[in-house]
């Protein structure tokens, strides 16, 4: 029960490494940052000024990045990852991830051809009256051997996006939740599972 007059949207993220033998190692179990994009996205919905198609307002995309935390600190005004993966190849063409290029809304403007992984509907689960869990799986074949400037680059940030809340002609995703975590050098020995719960 919440007796405050504001309705605060909160989130919790649990990150695990999962090895082939089924063993899981939890590397993060903490709250996330709901960024200002969540308010912007809901505003598109409630003012009926964005897309009239409800699927466009759903959280359906995510990115991982290699440069977290951002230089300006982890604040709610973050509107993009500081070092998101830049190509479909970096996500891994042999993986089970469905990855594509779409625009991204940053400060109201569309940044073209950003790489997003799609969250399958089967990985979106209602776990309470107002709680939804998103299960993001970076499988063994995904995001391996990442490098920046010739040096191995660890995954250290992740973000959730609503699909296309503004209803733009070309899909323009909007960052709504963000989290940095300890560096994970991804290899084919394990998959990474993000269990991300958003309480609306």
């Amino acid at each position: 029960m919440n007796f405050i007059e504001d309705k605060g949207i909160t989130g919790h993220l649990k990150i695990s490494k999962r090895y082939a033998n089924g063993e899981e190692e939890v590397v993060l179990d903490d709250s996330n940052i709901i960024v200002s994009g969540m308010g912007e996205s809901l505003s598109y919905l409630f003012t009926a000024s964005g897309s009239e198609f409800v699927l466009d307002h759903q959280i359906g995309r995510f990115q991982v990045g290699v440069s977290g935390p951002p230089a300006g600190g982890v604040v709610s005004s973050i509107n993009q990852l500081s070092g998101s993966l830049t190509s479909i190849d970096e996500y891994g063409t042999g993986s089970n991830l469905l990855v594509g290029l779409d625009n991204q809304l940053v400060n109201g403007a569309a940044v073209t051809d950003q790489t997003f992984a799609i969250i399958p509907a089967s990985k979106i689960t209602r776990i309470g009256d107002s709680s939804v869990r998103y299960t993001l799986v970076i499988d063994e074949e995904a995001c391996n051997g990442l490098q920046r400037a010739g040096i191995d680059a660890p995954i250290s940030e992740v973000g959730l996006f609503t699909n296309n809340p503004s209803g733009a002609a070309k899909v323009s995703a909007l960052l709504v939740a963000y989290r940095t975590f300890s560096k994970i050098f991804k290899t084919s020995d394990f998959s990474i599972i993000f269990r991300w719960t958003i309480n609306f």
């Binding site: 029960m1 919440n2 007796f3 007059e5 504001d6 309705k7 605060g8 949207i9 200002s36 969540m38 308010g39 912007e40 809901l42 505003s43 919905l45 409630f46 003012t47 009926a48 000024s49 964005g50 897309s51 009239e52 198609f53 409800v54 699927l55 307002h57 759903q58 959280i59 359906g60 509907a121 979106i124 689960t125 209602r126 309470g128 009256d129 107002s130 709680s131 939804v132 958003i198 309480n199 609306f200």
Partner: protein, 355 residues
Amino acid sequence: MRGEVEVWMGDKLIAKETNLIVNGAGKTIADMMTVSPSLSGIADLATSSLLDTSNYYVQAISFGTGSEAFQDNAHALDDTGLYGVIVPSTHINAGTSIVRFPFDTTTSSYVPRAGLPEEPSPESTRLEMRTTSVAAEISGISVSSVFPGNGQHVNFLNADIASSICAGTVFSNTTSAYVVGSVMGGFPDDTGSEYAVYGYLSGTPASPTLIGIFTPSGTFNAAGVSSMDVSGFVTHKYDENNSQLGLISTAIDGDGSIGVQYEVQLGPGDMQLANMYGGIYHIGLWTIDNEATLLNGNTPPYSFSVLNNPRKYRLFARKGFTVDLTSYEDDGTAEGFKSYGSGNNLTIKWNIRFS
């Protein structure tokens, strides 16, 4: 997400307070976030309509008062059982609606008895969770057995609405329907219908007296059609070209935050009759409850209807006031209730901000 309500009488700000976003808001957003994308692949209007955002944003506003108000004020029939005697047949024959209320004094103001309105709770699912059934009986049959209360002011008083909603019930004859309309209460129309007010004037406590016949002007039952359904929900975007009809919304922009402002206007007659039926202590914003609407056998898109509204609503935000929004300053012995609000509309501006 936070909200703030402004109440204006004409151009005078009479209240500005924060609201309570209830748990239903989170539930509606979670509903929206978990609609199955597979529905988009089905070439069927009803199915694709489930994917329209209008099913998930605020679609109505309603007004309520304390639980005790529904057993008192104009909801109460006189206990002498004088129905049919005290109501001049000419009024019924002319289609005049009947409002009876205990008008204790000869002065102009009426202070409704509403008890203590319910305290705010995020778990609220309607404006007043306690019973809001009327106590009146007609020919020994309890009105609430057919029309139970729904936690807020309803819209039965209009003669056409009362007749239609009572059709097929034990109150289907014209006379009974008017009395049901009278005890359930509601809001006037703007077509010049007369309303006869009966009350207990000082010095004549034994029987109700015709205090007067007046023609209040409202905004909800306008031009023969209504933006408010029989259950008391004022629908969103009833007429985008007329800001005085229904609930309208505009984006909030330029003050450093983003959000939406919902606005609704009550005419002097709306306040006048709401006052007689117990005042206004609660207001609420509602979204469509898709699950309840579908379980009720309705097929999207859900078109608004006054008498048989397919839309079942879910409370999104609620605001309670410690003073009655319809309270009216006494005006000596003149029948001031006939010129309620000095002709001014009551405007409610409800700002929901997302950042």
